[in-house]
Point group: C2
Chain length 284, copies 2
């Protein structure tokens, strides 16, 4: 009997762990979880506290408790500073491979950006960094920003909007803005009107940050729709002086040079990333 | 003492559940898990069996055991037929909202396709359907196919390649093909040479399937790179006679009509989806 009860608890906790972690950001009331598991609310509450404790220790997320009548618990797919640092080191090792150097002084990063494995981990770092600013929407520009932006939105349980180069007849009324890139090219950026509700707090996510024209265009789109860009996260920045910064700016990596003749990639943690780790106390 | 030991087991199992489910497709050896948790291999093996049992019961994935010297266990983010059916019903309800009708007889689906919540669930259904065909790569066409393709790749632990309308100088040598769409327009599709290794078994994923020209283009790209398209998954198909089918074809929804004057959306489960549920035994 005691043995059976013990198994019942283990089984319930496995189910709860899976359920919470499968839907980051979703608020579950204790009543809902109690009904699903057939346990008392107080029991479920203890179970959730234990899950939270174990996962915080391993640096793999946390369960947030929302108090009040409409309260409950929800899983946030955050990462500890120590894991964020590990991720940056792993990416630098992966991306510094001379085989990635492409004629013209470019670095092939597409497979990493489109990899579900890396995208999910990068998104969790962005989510952890910007959670205190309480964004309620993630916005990116097609194409390579999408996996990182989707992973960030997933970790925070938020919707995602994607700006495109052209407006589409299949998406209804849209807003378009023109941007001038650092290479002097003029490009359009377009978003369906209904993609971002007025008043939204928007986190901009992109893969690569050069002069900042894409971010400026995305910020313009937000403004036209009555929303506010609260910050900008990018995987990799160049050392170019940014013409434009939006809210709080965060980048994980900094690409200084791709030396084709010596076959060397000069990639390091970005300054905003190092500062974030210091402030968050990465010795933990 | 007994109490402490019991908690130790619960804590270990919470950590294992999180670790396995956070990295779908990744093979963990029992030795590795034993070292991380500080438990004996036989104990970890029992824990994993229990996790598998509980999650299969809830229809939220399964732990696959790979035998042999290079063996171990890995999490697969699959869904039960009952949950797949629920998903299709939920999507039909969500997408049939007359507010989604756009002038010209279109249906606004972008927010659903870009939603991490829906994308992840759709990806898990595609993954479950195509797991028996052992794909080792997922391929899609920019832009709206990306979230669904990324979610499918994530659930199977596979890399993702994304074809684009233009080749990019930053991505090195690429393959391009031309396609003629059902509306008679000629378009280009391009993929970096290194995106798909020769010999790959490629699962094609897209959001919407009309005449099949996109799928034909993606299949051509695979062929040029020495890879094989083993099948094609799309969220929604139209009743148009497909000009081209690749390997096994699977769609979840079928959009028959968007009636602007009566404000009615005629959306139903696709035939290939219904057949799949029947074969998989959705009464479970």
């Amino acid at each position: 009997m005691a043995r059976e009860a013990r198994y019942a608890r283990v089984r319930r906790i496995v189910g709860l762990t899976r359920r919470l972690t499968a839907a980051p950001g979703r608020l579950y009331s204790l009543a809902e979880l109690a009904e699903e598991t057939g346990a008392a609310r107080s029991t479920v509450s203890e179970d959730v506290a234990l899950i939270d404790e174990v996962l915080r220790e391993t640096g793999l997320g946390a369960v947030a408790t929302v108090t009040g009548a409409a309260g409950g618990v929800r899983w946030l797919d955050t990462v500890s500073p120590a894991r964020a640092r590990e991720l940056a080191q792993g990416m630098i090792m992966e991306l510094s491979d001379p085989e990635r150097i492409i004629q013209g002084g470019f670095l092939y990063m597409t497979d990493v950006i489109f990899s579900p494995f890396w995208a999910e981990r990068i998104g969790a770092v962005f989510a952890t960094r910007f959670l205190p600013l309480a964004p309620d929407m993630v916005l990116t520009m097609e194409t390579k920003g999408i996996p990182l932006a989707l992973a960030t939105a997933r970790a925070l349980g938020l919707p995602l909007a994607v700006a495109r180069r052209e407006s589409r007849v299949t998406e209804g009324p849209s807003i378009s803005v023109n941007v001038v890139t650092s290479s002097g090219r003029i490009g359009a950026m377009s978003l369906p009107r209904r993609a971002i509700p007025a008043g939204s707090r928007v986190l901009i996510v992109d893969d690569f940050m050069k002069g900042g024209s894409t971010v400026r265009g995305l910020e313009d789109l937000c403004r036209e729709l009555g929303a506010t860009a609260i910050g900008c996260a990018s995987l990799c920045e160049t050392p170019v002086e940014r013409q434009h910064k939006v809210g709080e700016y965060f980048s994980i990596l900094r690409l200084d040079a791709v030396d084709e003749s010596r076959r060397v990639v000069d990639l390091s943690p970005a300054e905003s990333f190092t500062r974030y780790l210091e402030e968050a106390g990465s010795d933990a």
